[in-house]
């Protein structure tokens, strides 16, 4: 047996946008074991629920993540609405769905850029982020915020999108689709990228399922789980099938996200075509008493906001289970047996959001 050494990876590393630390146990250049550590950006968000009333906490819930912030706010609101028995107007549900899918577009494009950067393709990184700007422009024009939208509230949404703007968005999606086609063709068919990603960081279907993998990590390994299929917001009214790949390697996870961009565009088209006229919110009276595990599909996978109220305006508990947290054990499995040089690509392939994971 070769001599074992431990190489620390992170929390500061060129490919890591956020601080994750891995102790890599190596035999020569091969990783034989991995000990993950987080804890560098814990902000105590869940504790703040004891000091912010349940309506104001939406703003905090949104700030759990700087990428999929809208979906955090929506999932939290959905939990409170369920506890309080609030019937959200249809138009608000469609608007939530539209903004959620724009958030997915922006998140996946951001990730594609970071991923390209992780294997040294700078130009591809810049192209992905250039297209992402178009998506952020729409989010800013319709909500007032590029990254933190503040558009969701308990009982509905704060802002409307007029029919003219919806038509403009519909048209704009055509341009975004064409640009994404060019971009994803490089990711999926360029021989050097395929060579870099294929058979790297393989996670079997069984491991993905039993280790708790979610989102593109699970679907890249053939696990067909997509919480949008539960029909929350307006997803129950839209036609779509989860994007699933079976190879379980970094290329498969990249392919899932690339194909999901097109699925999101299709869903936004459908939602724009079907959005009904009507009110944006309902008046909320009283305070939540009861509990609910509100689930949704973030760009990185299944998100849970558990809320528990005791009839006062302050919740007893908010527990946020983010997809990155549950994708850490599968990451450990993927890394065991890989080459040291593949570690950055594999880590990036789960789309880690550590700010989210630590709350």
């Amino acid at each position: 047996m070769s001599r074992q050494i431990i190489v620390p990876f992170g929390p500061q590393h060129p490919v890591l946008p956020e601080p994750l630390h891995l102790d890599l146990v190596l035999e020569d250049e091969r990783v034989v074991d991995v000990i993950p550590s987080i804890g560098y950006v814990h902000r105590g968000f869940e504790k703040l629920v004891e000091k912010r009333d349940f309506n104001n906490y939406v703003y905090l819930a949104e700030r759990t993540c700087g990428i999929c912030s809208f979906i955090h706010g929506m999932t939290y609101c959905q939990g409170i609405e369920q506890v309080m028995g609030i019937e959200v107007p249809e138009r608000a549900l469609y608007l939530r769905t539209i903004w959620s899918e724009y958030s997915r577009l922006h998140s996946h494009l951001l990730w594609l850029g970071c991923f390209a950067d992780s294997f040294g393709f700078e130009n591809l990184f810049m192209n992905a982020w250039r297209i992402r700007e178009r998506v952020l422009d729409v989010l800013e024009q319709t909500t007032g915020g590029r990254v933190i939208q503040g558009a969701c509230k308990v009982g509905g949404v704060r802002r409307n999108i007029g029919s003219e703007k919806l038509a403009e968005m519909n048209e704009g999606l055509g341009i975004i689709r064409r640009e994404i086609e060019d971009l994803t063709n490089v990711f999926l068919f360029d021989s050097s990228i395929r060579h870099r990603l294929k058979n790297v960081g393989v996670l079997s279907k069984e491991d993905a399922y039993h280790l708790g993998a979610v989102g593109p990590v699970a679907r890249g390994s053939g696990v067909n789980v997509d919480l949008r299929k539960t029909g929350y917001a307006a997803y129950g009214k839209l036609k779509f099938e989860p994007v699933v790949e079976t190879a379980g390697d970094s290329l498969a996870r990249c392919t899932v996200r690339a194909r999901e961009l097109f699925a999101s565009i299709d869903m936004i088209h459908q939602a724009i075509a079907a959005i009904p006229e009507g009110p944006l919110d309902v008046k909320v009276t009283g305070a939540p008493e009861g509990e609910y595990f509100s689930r949704s599909e973030q760009p990185r996978g299944e998100l849970i906001h558990y809320v528990k109220g005791n009839g006062t305006k302050f919740l007893v508990r908010s527990r946020i289970r983010t997809p990155t947290l549950t994708n850490i054990p599968p990451l450990v499995k993927m890394l065991a047996g890989c080459e040291l040089a593949d570690v950055p690509v594999i880590v990036l392939s789960i789309d880690p959001c550590i700010g989210c994971a630590e709350r």
Partner: protein
């Protein structure tokens, strides 16, 4: 809006491993483990999912109760069990990866713990 039906079943601590094993054998995936401080007790929720059927079991324990780890059935559960230990001070016995309180570093020890809730530093 479609909202899923959710069920929560109380389970005695002594039967936890058996019940979790049954979920594993039935093909459920572990969704999360979460802890809530209620009065002088902790409610620990273990959530599972299979084909979008969400099921939750709950053990209610005193702060000094030692919880058996479920990492023997669900290897990835170490992330939740360590989190529960670091934030609440819950003792979990037999974890496959035990960070011994260093997974989540906080300025206040066990900030969600019952003693911390009463204004005492643990």
């Amino acid at each position: 809006m479609t909202i899923e039906n959710q069920s929560t079943t109380p389970v005695e601590i002594g039967k936890l491993i058996g019940v979790v094993e049954e979920f594993r054998n039935q093909g459920y995936r572990l969704v999360q483990i979460g802890c809530t401080a209620t009065g002088d007790l902790y409610e620990i929720n273990y959530s599972f999912d299979k084909d979008y059927t969400f099921r939750n079991i709950r053990v209610t324990v005193t702060p000094d109760t030692e919880i058996p780890s479920i990492t023997g059935m669900y290897w990835g559960a170490f992330i939740y069990e360590n989190e529960m230990h670091d934030l609440f001070g819950v003792n979990v016995r037999g974890m496959n990866i035990d960070f011994k309180g260093t997974l989540i570093r906080t300025s206040v020890k066990n900030p969600f713990g019952i003693a911390a809730g009463k204004g005492e530093k643990q």
